[in-house]
């Protein structure tokens, strides 16, 4: 496979060309799957090529011209992926959007990208666009995948996917060679896609990537993990996110493997189990959620099962990781681990859908070492990578056998990394983005003239040549006593506890560290059920004093842990409170990728932060919330503030006060 890749590399420089190649070389192999009406439907590479061809011609009939932008909005659906290839075949540029973003955010991107066409999943998205359309936008054609509820819309700029394809087939018959000419026209340095980053600060920026960026990065990462056409991948992360674009589109077209789309966004975990992917990417949050579910179900299990689980998990932690890394393990250890495999690990992995998994990656945020070790102990080859949209994902990745929970690995193939004097990580690679769309100022701020890109992350190389990311460069702070304060580090420690869904640590320029907590409704709700505690709302459950006690013990466990590290002993958590509402992207507190927006949270909950740093035992707060339909309301609550026990540690720095 490698020699053909090398031979074809010169000419196979765009995705439409790769699609044609796949249709020629492996016409009968599955390319796309989707679960529809309870059954997995499959399209082969040959069929996908036909679908894309008909769609591309149809789009051309509707007037999509080279250089036009076509927005793609919806869950991961085969037809939306095909739209990318179809647009690229015409020289048009797909612009995938986060499907759950509010109309206002969407309007900004649609306007900024000068989108003329939109391919959307269903009525919900059509309605959203029609709402935006009213404020004079320039979308000229909207094409929808699912016609449910749309039969009577009857507007001439609304078309169904089938109709467009039918027009395309007609056009194709009348103009043979039109599609091939369009595909042949594409070049490696053409713009392939514009991905808008959700942006923890400010307006989203449109990252322009060309085919060379994506195809070369895909080739390199495929070689790195020796992926081939037999992989099975589940596409369930937002299509607007660069990771999904690389894993579910780029790598699939380059390596020729099959991408499966879940039935709906709610069924991902059961679809995962049915499918059993061989190659899987998930942000730490998903691995966390899966682990939480396992732990909850084990707590509900009978005591024999529970004891067996506990015993063999301890065995796995002792031996499993060493076995996975190919290190020496005693015969007894191997036997015990083998027995555990029969009794616990095998069935558990099967339940999770990880039985066939060869490579799993996580990235986006630091993963708690305990979570990471849990999967590796079970024999899942879970690795970390570090990447960004501006790099087409790959900056660093952990090679097999060199996996450490606290690093993100070595530079990926063809990537150079340097660390500035200020501690910021910079990189240069073939995947480096072309520019931010219509934003030369930001482009110049981020990318130097000789191609080095600022990441904004603070990092350092450990002695074994692995990169370690500490935090966002701007988030790492100091307590007034001088102790290093890395909020994310503390938050991640807290978030490992199943009861804690989200944590926000404060401490920069303060005397001590204090945190906000969000309970995990599933885990805590389950606990409440088992203890016969009735509750009517999230707020009521969050305010339960017994739960506060449990959280307090968790905080103290973290404090004990921090106390053992001389650099961090000073950043133990002194006070905490449990928030009355969940932090939510709709309220702007998290990004669409569910990353914390620190500034928003500290502004919005200023009164609570003040209370944390006073002697108050209770604080009153009133917050505005946005419901799913966009209406606003407000929640008021009195929140108890708890003081946690801290432990003496070897404090390296003398406190000034």
């Amino acid at each position: 496979m490698n020699e053909t890749q090398a031979a074809g590399a010169a000419t196979l420089d765009t995705f439409p060309k790769l699609l044609a190649e796949n249709a020629r070389r492996r016409p009968g192999r599955p390319a796309t799957r989707e679960k529809d009406l309870g059954i997995w439907q499959t399209w082969t590479w040959g069929q996908v090529a036909e679908e894309v061809r008909a769609l591309a011609c149809g789009l051309a009939v509707l007037g999509l011209r080279p250089g036009d932008k076509i927005a793609i909005i919806g869950d991961n659906r085969p037809r939306l992926y095909w739209t990318m290839a179809a647009a690229q075949a015409l020289g048009a540029v797909p612009v995938p959007l986060y499907q759950d973003s509010a109309a206002k955010e969407m309007a900004f991107v649609l306007d900024h990208a000068e989108v003329r066409f939109a391919m959307v999943e269903d009525q919900e998205q059509v309605d959203k666009l029609l709402g935006i359309q009213a404020n004079d936008l320039r979308i000229e054609q909207i094409i929808y995948d699912n016609d449910r509820g749309l039969r009577h819309y009857d507007r001439d700029f609304l078309q169904s996917f089938e109709d467009v394809q039918a027009k395309g087939r007609e056009h194709d018959r009348a103009n043979p060679g039109f599609y091939e000419a369009g595909v042949a026209n594409g070049k490696g340095d053409d713009t392939a896609i514009i991905l808008y980053t959700s942006g923890t600060t400010g307006q989203p920026k449109g990252v322009v990537l060309n085919f060379d960026n994506l195809v070369r990065t895909a080739r390199n990462s495929i070689d790195f993990d020796s992926l081939n056409e037999n992989e099975d991948v589940l596409a369930y992360l937002p299509m607007a996110w660069v990771g999904d674009h690389l894993f579910s589109y780029g790598q699939s077209y380059v390596a020729g493997f099959c991408v499966s789309c879940p039935e709906s966004s709610d069924t991902v975990l059961s679809d995962l189990r049915e499918l059993g992917p061989t190659y899987f990417f998930a942000p730490p949050r998903i691995f966390e959620n899966i682990l939480t579910t396992v732990m909850i179900r084990m707590e509900d299990a009978g005591w024999i099962k529970r004891k067996m689980f506990q015993y063999f998990m301890a065995v796995a932690k002792r031996h499993g990781i060493r076995i996975l890394d190919g290190k020496s393990v005693s015969i007894g250890g191997r036997l015990l681990y083998g027995l555990g495999g029969l009794l616990i690990y095998g069935p558990l992995l099967n339940t999770l859908g990880f039985s066939r998994l060869r490579v799993a990656y996580t990235a986006g945020e630091a993963i708690g070492p305990d979570i990471f070790d849990f999967y590796r102990a079970l024999g899942v080859n879970l690795k970390q990578l570090y990447g960004s949209t501006e790099a087409c994902v790959s900056i660093t990745a952990q090679p097999d056998g060199e996996v450490l929970p606290d690093t993100v690995g070595r530079p990926s193939p063809e990537v150079e990394i340097k660390i500035t004097e200020a501690g910021e990580v910079m990189f240069r690679s073939p995947g480096v983005f072309v520019e931010y769309y219509k934003n030369p100022e930001e482009t110049a701020n981020t990318k130097t003239e000789d191609g080095w890109v600022h990441t904004g992350d603070a990092g350092l190389f450990s002695e074994n040549g692995h990169l370690k990311i500490i935090d966002r460069a701007k988030d790492v702070g100091k307590l007034t006593g001088g102790t290093l304060f890395a909020p994310k580090y503390i938050e991640n420690k807290l978030k490992f506890f199943p009861e804690i869904k989200e944590a926000v640590a404060f401490g920069h320029d303060r005397d001590f560290c204090a945190v906000f907590l969000n309970i995990d409704l599933e885990a805590v709700g389950n606990w409440a059920e088992r203890h016969h505690i009735a509750y009517a709302s999230y707020q009521e459950l969050a305010a339960n004093p017994q739960i506060r006690q449990i959280l307090k013990s968790h905080i103290e466990a973290v404090n004990r842990d921090l106390a053992s590290d001389p650099n961090l002993a000073g950043s133990q958590i002194h006070r905490f409170l449990v928030l009355h509402k969940e932090l939510d992207p709709d309220d702007g507190e998290l990004t669409r990728n569910r990353k914390l927006r620190r500034n928003v949270v500290s502004e919005k909950y200023e009164t609570l932060i003040d209370a944390l740093y006073s002697d108050a035992e209770r604080a009153h707060v009133e917050t505005e919330v946005t419901f799913e339909d966009g209406r606003k309301g407000s929640i008021a609550a009195d929140i108890d503030i708890v003081t946690a026990e801290t432990f003496p540690g070897a404090e390296p720095l003398e406190r000034a006060s």
């Binding site: 009406l37 059954i39 709906s264």
Partner: protein, 264 residues
């Protein structure tokens, strides 16, 4: 909102002079109205007005002492619930009546029971015709699951589902019978705003896509006014108004009934 393109047709069901009493209590008193093909009819009224009794009369659970019901051109005085089900009337209940220990899928499958042609013996053998039939039924149940967007709870025992979803499953079971006339007894009771909006959408969509005629009882006036083509108002067992939502809203008797003017 979109323009409704469907055509409201002829009378599907006609209730004439129906009176129903339990001992000395007159639950229904000389009520007459009609349900037309493909319309959404709401039956409203204060508590104890006889709304649920009316539905029970329509699907044959109660037998009125007086009056007739004409359904699909056949006039009858009495009807058995199973006969009603066979002729295309399906319903949901005010208090959810599902098999709590069974999965969503199985619960909806029970709605197909009347459509199963193979006898017990064939089903016991399983292979062959019964299996074919089961697959066909499963396919149509999957359509309903897709329609109601409950794929994620396909295998979940209904007893573990939240109330709003249970209501949805119950609607699914009623739909599985492919009814011509669907009776919904307070489909949105006890739901939050979001669940209500979802339910409204399903009611409108199924009326629109499958042309199902729907008679529903509902207390939430904004829902009633939004989705129904016609409203029948009952009070103390008598019909006090019948007309479009706007007509009913302006009707003085209706306002009195709701605001509680004394009856003497």
């Amino acid at each position: 909102m979109t323009q409704k393109a469907r055509q409201i047709g002829d009378t599907l069901l006609k209730v004439e002079g129906v009176s129903l009493s339990f001992g000395g209590i007159k639950a229904l008193n000389d009520v007459s109205f009609e349900i037309r093909e493909r319309e959404i009819l709401a039956i409203i009224g204060p508590n104890g007005a006889g709304k649920s009794s009316m539905l029970n009369v329509i699907n044959g659970f109660y037998h009125p002492q007086e009056g007739t019901i004409t359904y699909k051109g056949k006039t009858r005085k009495q009807m058995k619930p199973h006969a009603a089900a066979k002729t295309g009337i399906a319903r949901t209940f005010q208090n959810i009546a599902l098999f709590r220990g069974m999965s969503t899928l199985d619960n909806i499958m029970t709605g197909r029971l009347l459509k199963m042609r193979r006898n017990f013996l064939w089903q016991a053998i399983y292979w062959g015709p019964a299996k074919q039939e089961e697959m066909a039924h499963r396919a149509s149940v999957e359509q309903i699951i897709d329609f109601l967007e409950i794929q994620s709870i396909r295998r979940t025992p209904v007893g573990r589902l939240p109330y709003g979803l249970q209501k949805r499953v119950e609607l699914g079971r009623a739909l599985a019978a492919e009814p011509d006339l669907l009776l919904l007894d307070e489909p949105m009771a006890g739901m939050n705003v979001e669940e209500k909006e979802d339910m409204c959408r399903f009611v409108l969509d199924l009326n629109d896509e499958f042309g199902t005629t729907i008679a529903l009882i509902e207390h939430d006036m904004s829902v009633v006014m939004d989705i129904s083509d016609r409203v029948v108002v009952l009070d103390y067992g008598r019909k006090i108004a019948d007309g479009s939502p706007d007509q009913v809203r302006a009707n003085k008797d209706v306002i009195d009934a709701y605001l509680g003017v004394g009856h003497d």
